[in-house]
Every structure is written in C-alpha cells, then in structure tokens.
Symmetry: C2
Subunit: 139 residues, 2 copies
DNA sequence: TGTTAAATTGACGTTTACGTAAACGGAAAT
DNA sequence: ATTTCCGTTTACGTAAACGTCAATTTAACA
C-alpha cells in the first residue's frame, strides 16, 4: 500500500486530517522553504512517513499561529514563546507563575500595539478626508 | 559665540525646539547609530550646524512616527511610505488618488493587525485564567 | 589652554528570516 | 518501465536593520 494515498485521500477536503507540506504552502501562501525553516527553529515538528513530512491538524493550527505572529511583527523566537503558552500543560506552581508573567508581558505589548494602531488609523482617516476634500475642489 | 550653547539652552526643557542626537537617543531609548541609520534611509533629514546634526521638533515627531511603525512591525521602507502620507502637500488629482489608495491599503493592514491582536488577547486571557485556576487548586 | 566628553564618518561584522540552486530519493502518471 | 513530479537535504546567498569598532573632529569644562 502506498503512503501517499493515505495522505491525499481527499485533497481539499474540509475535514482533512493530514497535510503535505505543499498543501499548507498553498493554503496559507507561504513557501515550503519557510515552513521547513520554522521547523528548524523548533516551531513545528511534523511526523514523518519515511522522509516525507506529514502535518496534522494541530501542526496546521501552529502554522496559523506562526503566521499571525508574523503579521504582528513578532520574531520567530517571540512566536515560539507564545506557542509555548498555548501548549502549556498544567504543571507546577513555579511554571504557572512563570507563564502568567509571560502572558502579562505579552499582553502589555499587544495593548501598546493596539493603541498605536488606533492612533494611526485615526490619523490616516484625517489625512484621507483631507485628500478627498482637496480633490473635491479640483476641476 | 559657541554653537553648542544654542542647542542646549535648557536641556530637558519641555518647550525645547532643538535637539542633539543624544537628546533624542536618550528620550526615546534608541541608539544614535539607529537614528543615523534612519537618516541614511531617508526617513530623517536634520539640519546641520557645521558637521553636527540639529533636530527640530518636526524631526522629533518623525522619529516618533518611525518608532511607532517599528512597534507595529513595519519595515523602514513601509514607514517611509507612511511618513510620506503625513507629509503630503495638497497636490494634483493623480497624486491625491495615489495617496488615497495607499492610505486605504495601509488601513486594511492595520485593521487585520487589530483583529489579530484582539483574537490573541482573548486567547491569552483564556490561558491566563486557566493557569490561575490550576494554581488555585495547588497546595 | 589643555583635557575630557560628545559627535562624525567610514568600514566591517552580525542576526534574522528566509531565497535559491544543486543533487538525490521516492511516488505518480502514462 | 520510465519519465515526471514532489519532496528532502545541504549549502551558499541575501536583504534588512542595525552593532561595533577605529580614527577624527569638535565642543565643553576645569
């Protein structure tokens, strides 16, 4: 029995449970090189069938988290920290305090970013209106 | 008469109108090297007194815009585009349409970022609560 | 007026996040 | 069975954004 047929039972199936690297590459518009790089950096660890990478739904979620982090301008190292928060299994008290502090710090950054965004959006809004106003007074 | 005394009339004065590179460096916690680099990239163009850079209030505002853009993860090139929007003098119709489109595109990105931030904040909130809950059940 | 202290200009080094190309191994299709 | 993909590894290249000297110049202060 061929391994590939297991992976690609129903390509494009919404209930798909296994993904090839090019599946993910196409779905999220990211190169296979980048996906492999994220693995090198410890952000992904897909199973293997022989040499080939096989991504689960969980891996796919992780990739989504990575890309979201990138959109927010975080470094891969920071993204790794964030993913670790998501993955944390209820451990000992020290670990939990550590995570709570990490989460708090991250939230501070995110809130600052949101403030920056709001300010910028308002300013761009004003500039946009000014442009349209000027435009309306032209021939 | 010494030039320096003109620049540093009242160091730390809230109504200060001229700044040295180290003034800005200290105020915004950014290295002088970075500030010079932004100039190399065309994002700043301070006047000179002799060889020394003299920054005006306007230059300082620009630096603030640069740092805000950095916090949002934009490249210096993107930040340059944004600053250009702020600086735009009412020009001809073509220019105005061009800017309006640029602004629109930038707003789309900013809104996506804000959504990403909101989602992330909510998720971190949930994780935080989970952590505290687990903590409360420990010795 | 000599001596620090701050600023400038190169120039080279570094980190991050991939791009790109080569060379090879399986798998799929014909 | 063989061409044709797709995937893998390895390795070198690269753009962005500075860091880090070193060598000078200029300024401020004792």
């Amino acid at each position: 029995m061929l391994l590939g047929t297991e992976i690609h039972l129903t390509p494009g199936d919404p209930g798909q449970e296994q993904f090839s690297i090019s599946d993910l590459s196409q779905e999220f518009d990211v190169t296979t090189r980048a996906i492999r790089f994220y693995e090198d950096e410890g952000l992904l660890e897909p199973r293997r069938k022989g040499r080939r990478r096989v991504y689960t739904v969980r891996d796919r979620v992780r990739l989504k988290l990575i890309l979201r982090g990138k959109r927010l301008g975080f470094s891969l190292s920071e993204i790794g920290d964030i993913i670790t928060m998501y993955d944390s299994e209820p451990g000992e008290a020290g670990q939990l305090h550590y995570f709570i502090n990490k989460i708090s710090a991250r939230r501070t950054v995110l809130k600052q970013q949101r403030d920056d965004i709001d300010v910028t959006l308002n300013e761009l809004d004003a500039i946009d209106k000014q442009c349209r106003k000027t435009l309306a007074r032209l021939p």
